[in-house]
Symmetry: none
Subunit: 294 residues, 2 copies
DNA sequence: TCGATTGTGTCAAATTATTTTCAGGCGGTT
DNA sequence: AACCGCCTGAAAATAATTTGACACAATCGA
């Protein structure tokens, strides 16, 4: 990793930051983020101004730049300028495309644009009080947490389960085979929580499951699309995710973001315990020799 | 005439040069040309370097800048930088103010903010030519497409598989049980494609799998994190996703977005066939009475 | 809890950039 | 031909940036 990172003309500063990111200290990363957030403008001023804008000290910037392989700030500044010129942002009035070198009309950009709009809608519509309440319920480790998904959202449920499992005990992933659901309901108790994913092509079975669970005194948290699954009738907390994209299927990026936000919040809610579990997990991985130490 | 040349924020330096051009001396014009030829890069260095590049003296530049209405070189430099920043608007740049009603400091907003930054970084680092090439390889229906993931990314692999299956034939999801992988490799043929997800806590088995697949003449597409999995050594196409969040685990929102963009692109690549498959799928759902018509 | 290590900001010296001053040079006019 | 106005770059004075040394703070491991 630390192999010589002499900045060749063909290597962008962005790439240098990426390849050296692991060797950067927290405040160096802070500066790196500030630079990448406003690339390359943030690096085209004096080191003094650049440091001030990132809220770090000047030497921190200088040290980071050395780590990147530059001999000083001026060479770094010069490298950024070279990139800028190479992008041909200069002579012609060509539109600046700093976020991605792909052209405006490239499907990658069009797609991203649409998804961004979905994220916007999704988060503009979340009620934070409801979010907090749902998180609190799901963080309660004395009761059981069940996770279930539909056809497409099954993998989201798996993802949720994998992380919940690391954060808290008493978590169960209900398979997508609806025939097995009654078995799970059998064990549900008052105060338990059921997290349901239901994105369109709503699953009728999920509604019946939610109904039965509610009757058992279980709190239901529903993550659905903008049109709202019928499961909402039995849900205590409902969250709508905007999923529409110009395609035959739906985008679940917003769903994923909401889910991760919930996991993060739950982790925060009972941190000491979660931390202990993570440490234990790491230890178990080591013992079982499953992953390379990176 | 000179009195009204106070550089307002909305007036570009370019315009200032044009309106004041007649009042410029020969060598001042020489510098003006050099600046316009390489706009705005030529003005984003020190006055010394800028003057040298235009083959004029430093005072000449200083005088010209005064004529344009600036009080010195630094304000001029700053104005150019502002213009540059104002132009840099990418697909992910819209995040500006769509926070939910929750307060700035609510964890929901803080989390979202971080993820947005990851999305930005991810897409700024994608090479569109590479993306196109990888998509083309994966869209080739005459060869087989294999999908495999690691511990956490297993669910992403499942998600990918579910969608690929709808879009094209000959798709196989390799389970995360590495003991079964040799069986799959047995069937791999030259020209087939293997899509690998490997986010940190890299899986050593995945690397060996990629190595063997490569030896069989299979093209490997890798989706990894910003630090790059060792699988990259055997991959024909590598895509880095920014995954770091202030937490014990990694965010896969960016990974999901990239994956969906790929699915969308593949669908686009051979639309008629994909469309026929979707219609057929809908029909089958109806016949099997699996989902409520919504 | 205590060292050892690592990270981070303050400070000051050295360097470099910016501004100002000034003198030479070039055309055009008397 | 000599004078005058203006343009231009050299050089000095001033202001700023850059960088290395140092000390304090935070973190980690024993």
């Amino acid at each position: 990793m630390e192999s010589r990172n002499v900045p060749k003309s063909s290597v962008t500063v962005r790439e240098l930051i990426r390849t050296n990111y692991t060797s950067l200290t927290p405040s160096e990363r802070k500066f790196a983020q500030a630079l990448l957030d406003n690339y390359p403008s943030a690096g085209l001023t004096s080191i003094t101004a650049a440091a001030r804008n990132a809220n770090v000290s000047v030497p921190t910037v200088a040290r980071m730049i050395n780590k990147l392989g530059f001999t000083g700030y001026p060479p770094f500044h010069h490298a950024l300028l070279q990139e800028l010129e190479a992008k041909a942002l200069g002579p012609t009035e060509r539109r600046a495309k700093w976020a991605s070198e792909a052209p405006e009309t490239h499907q990658l950009n069009r797609f991203t644009e649409t998804v961004m709009r979905n994220l916007e809608q999704t988060f503009a519509n979340i009620d934070s009080a409801q979010f907090d309440a749902a998180v609190k319920a799901m963080a309660e480790t004395s009761s059981h947490l069940y996770v279930v998904g539909g056809r497409i959202t099954q993998s989201l449920a798996t993802y949720a389960f994998t992380h919940f499992q690391a954060v808290r005990e008493h978590t169960t992933h209900m398979t997508s085979v609806s025939a097995t659901w009654p078995h799970y309901v059998l064990d549900m108790q008052k105060g338990d929580v059921l997290l349901v994913f239901d994105i369109r092509r709503y699953d009728a079975g999920l509604m019946r499951l939610a109904e039965q669970a509610t009757r058992e005194g279980v709190q239901v948290v529903l993550i659905t699309d903008q049109w709202t699954s019928p499961v909402a009738d039995w849900a205590d907390y409902t969250f709508n995710c905007w999923v529409e994209i110009p395609s035959a299927w739906d985008s679940n990026v917003a769903t994923m973001l909401l889910l991760e936000a919930m996991i993060a919040a739950i982790q925060e809610e009972n941190w000491p315990r979660a931390r202990a579990r993570y440490d234990r997990l790491e230890d178990l991985f080591d013992r079982m020799n499953l992953f390379r130490r990176s």
